[in-house]
């Protein structure tokens, strides 16, 4: 039973996200609005952690599965990928490593500098 109410709450925030996405002319998808609204509701105490925790945990646990249908769509791109495969491979492999390293190193550097300053 509690799962029903938990899913209901999460879906309400999804729907609110869709409404905002339809109303506001910003390049922000419904999912990000929904995430921000649910976080705000949790912070404000309007939604208690236990009221969404189990259902959210389930959805996050199956996250990778949810990408399978989209990933299988690669089969539709055969001829196009044959033309641009080299930049695609470099973008996927090399750029991903560079981005992860840059974002991680910069974050770490700022944290360490702050820690050093505060001793």
């Amino acid at each position: 039973m509690s799962y029903i109410f938990q899913f209901l709450r999460i879906l309400v925030f999804c729907f609110l996200g869709e409404i905002l996405h339809a109303l506001l002319p910003l390049p922000i998808p419904a999912s990000i609005y929904g995430l921000a609204l649910l976080l705000a509701a949790l912070k404000a105490g309007a939604v208690k952690l236990e009221q969404v925790k189990d259902a959210a945990g389930f959805l996050i646990a199956v996250f990778p599965l949810l990408f399978v249908p989209g990933a299988a769509g690669i089969m539709e791109l055969g001829p196009l990928l044959a033309e641009v495969w080299l930049p695609v491979v470099l973008a996927v492999a090399l750029v991903t490593v560079l981005v992860m390293a840059a974002a991680g190193r910069v974050t770490q550097a700022v944290i360490r500098r702050k820690e050093a300053r505060h001793g």
Binding site: A30, G73, R105, T107, I111
Partner: protein, 231 residues
């Protein structure tokens, strides 16, 4: 019989979960990181559709139950974020600097690739939002004259690659701070990378979730400017 595989409402979901389960079993059996259930599951689905000569759109419609959960799952990332609020509040400046660095490097590197290979404009635009979540990336690509299907494919491949290499990259670049690891993984490999970050630890998972949202919005704002710098 054949209609069950073209009009039926369940077979696509069944195929998706079955293929993913098979991938999970293979990973358990072999213990190898590249035997990733998402990677193997997607390959099994493609193989099955090719062998049975089923058009992809038929499968896509029948697997709607699975992909339809992407929205509530993304919204659910608010929960780990809320649970790690302290770590977030304490490191706001560091986290934002890291995400900005990641987004700039991602877009800059794709621009360089486009110049180096004289890539066709539509293909280059499709690669620009490659590090962010599909929900944002595909829209950005469509808006700026890219090919959304190519963007989606590249985003998912990026996610799988980031998921598989996250630990190695963090070790090679000596990224040891949990907040920094989460920001790195989420900025580079969105939700698929976040699945790995969650396994590394709760702080990593929450910071990775946050980076999906911030890096996504930032990229959506930067891409229209980057398009002007394409060859």
């Amino acid at each position: 019989m054949a209609e069950l595989l073209t009009q039926g409402a369940v077979w696509g979901t069944l195929l998706t979960i079955g293929a993913f389960a098979l991938g999970t079993l293979l990973q358990k059996k072999t213990g190898r990181a590249w035997c990733n259930p998402l990677l193997l599951g997607s390959l099994f689905v493609i193989l099955f559709l090719r062998l049975c000569r089923i058009p992809y759109p038929d499968y896509q419609a029948s697997a709607g139950l699975v992909s339809g959960l992407l929205l509530p799952a993304t919204v659910s990332l608010a929960v780990p974020l809320y649970e790690q609020w302290e770590a977030l509040r304490k490191n706001t400046a560091a986290i934002l600097s890291g995400i900005v660095a990641g987004a700039v490097v991602s877009i800059g590197a794709v621009l360089l690739l486009a110049w180096a290979f004289r890539t066709d404009r539509a293909a280059a635009v499709s690669l620009l939002p490659k590090s962010v979540t599909t929900a944002i990336g595909a829209d950005v690509s469509a808006e700026l004259g890219g090919i959304p299907a190519l963007t989606t494919a590249v985003i998912i491949l990026t996610g799988i690659f980031g998921n598989l290499t996250a630990q190695t990259v963090c070790r090679c670049f000596r990224i040891t701070d949990p907040v920094a690891r989460g920001v790195g993984i989420g900025s580079a490999a969105h939700a698929i990378g976040t699945a790995r970050a969650m396994e590394l630890g709760p702080v990593e998972g929450a910071m990775s979730s946050l980076s999906i949202a911030v890096a996504g919005v930032l990229t959506a704002l930067l891409c229209p400017l980057a398009v002007r710098l394409l060859p």
